[in-house]
Symmetry: C2
Subunit: 437 residues, 2 copies
């Protein structure tokens, strides 16, 4: 018998990688934070002696979900303003609220609130872009959550920095602080083509090449954005980014609702990544991301919720379901984005986009044990013909019972072990009480 840290026995294991999509009555062996083995439960009992051994008789174990586009701090603005046109929503609600309220304490609390919500919903890693990335990194690191922290950059001054150079300089300090952290990675996060000019983009491209870091950016989110660029600059934003050398395997482009066939070919040839945000795109009427064409072109498509101000949840189960349903509707083909592919987008494809698929995104020996347990015994999931179908079309995030990140048991039977939910709720409610609508 081999002594290991943890042995999890499950009704089903959904590894995401490998030939078989669903392994019934299998076990996951975890040692020193990493996945050691996945094997039939009867064999696991013969081979491994674990310090902690748990039976999940009515559960699926799968990789933790990766939310590939967030603005975690904005969780404090959840449902602040809805049902408004994008520019009215931004100009008269979100931006004034940010100007009035965003500071270090806001980002700290908002990120804690977002992390609590994400963890309880089975998300083990998020790809963030917001002011005070140092604080987001500190929150995630402290609670033991995996995060890809965007080093935000803009042309104009905000509470975080005065100009593009200062954004980049402050970002590099954050990058340096976390460069050997096992949970935190960093991306350059120039906000969007319309908020950052050529010079800082060229600097970011050079730095990203040197440091081999992803560049996380909102691109072609709306038709308005594209039209305005064509009207003022004479070219579509993707063309400009291509001229600047940004269309590369490092590019992680969020939204992408406006794409010509040749632009899809360009992105595919460059091995760039796209983060599809179906709920945000619907809620803000931004347009439909052509997911079927992207997948057909072989582009790596991940999934993100966007912020709680434009969604209004950080619920990756809902995002998977919405992505799978919407892709069928938009393509007119009910075979588009089947359940297992939706699960892959919400896990492994996210890890690939963030350049951390050697560490996470699937259940495979050698990767960190970023794992969730999802229970299927409720009447809303009865009967079960195919657990993969249920994970996408039927499950709610409330069915996630347990979460491990790098082998650490972060949620035990619905209770978070590293965050004080009651303190966060009280503080968030105290914050919202001050906001006059």
């Amino acid at each position: 018998m081999k002594n290991i840290d943890t042995l999890l026995h499950a009704r089903w294991i959904i590894p995401i990688e490998g030939e078989r999509h669903c392994l019934p009555d299998h076990s996951l062996a975890i040692h020193e934070g990493h996945i050691l083995d996945i094997l039939p439960t009867d064999k696991a009992r013969e081979i491994y002696q674990a310090e902690t051994e748990i039976y999940y008789a009515q559960h699926a174990l799968m990789p933790g979900l990766i939310n590939a586009h967030t603005h975690a701090g904005m969780n404090l603005f959840r449902g602040l303003a809805d049902d408004l046109p994008l520019m009215d929503w931004l100009n008269h609600h979100i931006w004034p609220a940010e100007k009035q309220w965003v500071n270090e304490e806001f980002v700290q609390l908002g990120t804690e609130l977002a992390c609590a919500e994400m963890l309880r919903g089975g998300t083990t890693c998020f790809n963030d872009m917001y002011y005070f990335p140092d604080i987001a990194a500190r929150v995630a690191s402290k609670i033991g959550m995996r995060a890809s922290i965007g080093l935000i950059a803009l042309d104009f001054p905000t509470i975080w920095a005065r100009d593009a150079d200062e954004y980049i300089d402050k970002g590099l300090i954050v990058h340096d602080e976390y460069r050997s952290n096992e949970l935190i990675s960093t991306t350059f996060a120039p906000h969007a083509p319309y908020t950052i000019s050529d010079e800082p983009l060229q600097k970011i491209r050079m730095l990203a090449d040197e440091l081999d870091m992803p560049i996380h950016m909102h691109i072609h989110e709306t038709a308005h954005e594209v039209k305005e660029a064509v009207d003022t600059l004479g070219e579509r934003p993707l063309q400009r980014l291509d001229n600047l050398g940004l269309i590369s395997p490092n590019l992680v482009a969020a939204h992408m609702t406006q794409l010509l066939t040749e632009e899809i070919e360009l992105l595919a040839a460059a091995n760039s990544h796209i983060v599809h945000c179906p709920k945000s795109n619907l809620k803000l009427a931004s347009g439909f991301c052509p997911v079927k064409q992207l997948l057909d072109a072989g582009i790596n498509v991940a999934l993100g919720t966007d912020s709680a101000s434009s969604n209004n949840s950080l619920d990756m189960f809902d995002e998977m379901k919405t992505a799978a349903l919407l892709a069928k509707g938009v393509s007119g083909d009910a075979t588009t984005l089947p359940a297992h592919q939706a699960l892959t987008m919400a896990t492994l494809n996210g890890a690939r986009a963030l350049g951390i698929d050697d560490k996470t995104g699937s259940l495979a020996p050698g990767k960190y044990a970023d794992v969730i347990a999802v229970e299927f015994s409720n009447i809303e999931n009865t009967p079960v013909y195919d657990p993969i179908s249920h994970l996408v079309y039927c499950c709610s995030r409330e069915q996630v019972t347990d979460v491990w990140i790098a082998g650490r048991h972060i949620m035990k039977n619905r209770s978070l072990t590293t965050l004080d939910i009651e303190r966060i709720k009280q503080a968030a409610n105290a914050f919202s009480d001050q906001v006059i609508l």
Copy 2:
């Protein structure tokens, strides 16, 4: 002090009818199954002495949700086959499964499973269409759930009837049995234009006129259906139904993804009702119902889940959210279908479509007390700026804590009082174990 049965105090009451959308710190007075009064809590404490008095300090009380298009018996086929083209799905999966498995026991158990799921999700009334409507009526009546039972009619034989005349005759017996039942109403339910011929439709129209009953029918669900009708009969199904006199205030048309401007005008002028099924339409890639145009034309639009085989949940919270998001995406206008309108579609508009808005669909004195309590204290709903926004964009059905139908407390703090969940789960799992995929 006036003695009454029940007094519910809530943080918010969302009545759906009336000038004010949200009544903070209000109370609902219930007596003899009906709503007696809605008033500020401090006044309610002065006026009413209730046998049962409950405080819902972090809850919204609202009318029970009305699922206006279901095939409840099919819940036993939840997730049996997904990600397939419609005709392959029907011809090679659903119809063969129905032929093999549907009988009285199947419908009894499937309907119980569906009712348990719906009640736990805050649905207090469903508009059904399936074989053995007598059994569906008996199940709903026995457990105290409101239902509109479709008297299904087809040209071809099934286990329920041999030909159109027998479907209609057997249906009329069900209608007669429940005509004075306070919970059960009936509709004629000719399945779809392509499964029933002119003669029985004329008979149904005449009977519906005489008995003032709704006619519940799948219409223009897919482009294929419309094209086939044009190719074989030379006219679109709606034209044919209009020729037969079916476009009337009694018509409850489910799906309606294919509509010309003149057809929308025809339906508006006739005061016909439409049941929008956004998730089913997406999953089967049926097309987009033009919800904005329907609402702009003044048509009453209700919401339905369709069956658990094409959704795969009977979750009206998810259906509301999907409807509100999708209508924005499809119309390209983020102001389309705001939150309160989505709530109205899922409640009062359903009651209007079924001709029971004098009994249910909103919280108003004189109506039956069909009420649900939704709790907002979880971290996923923190903070709360606007409870109406949260009900649509943020809540999950798991937050429904209590359900009353005609004043009867059918779910108490998440426990159903008239259904044995464990028995249903065991029986449903035993059923699915026999099905070889």
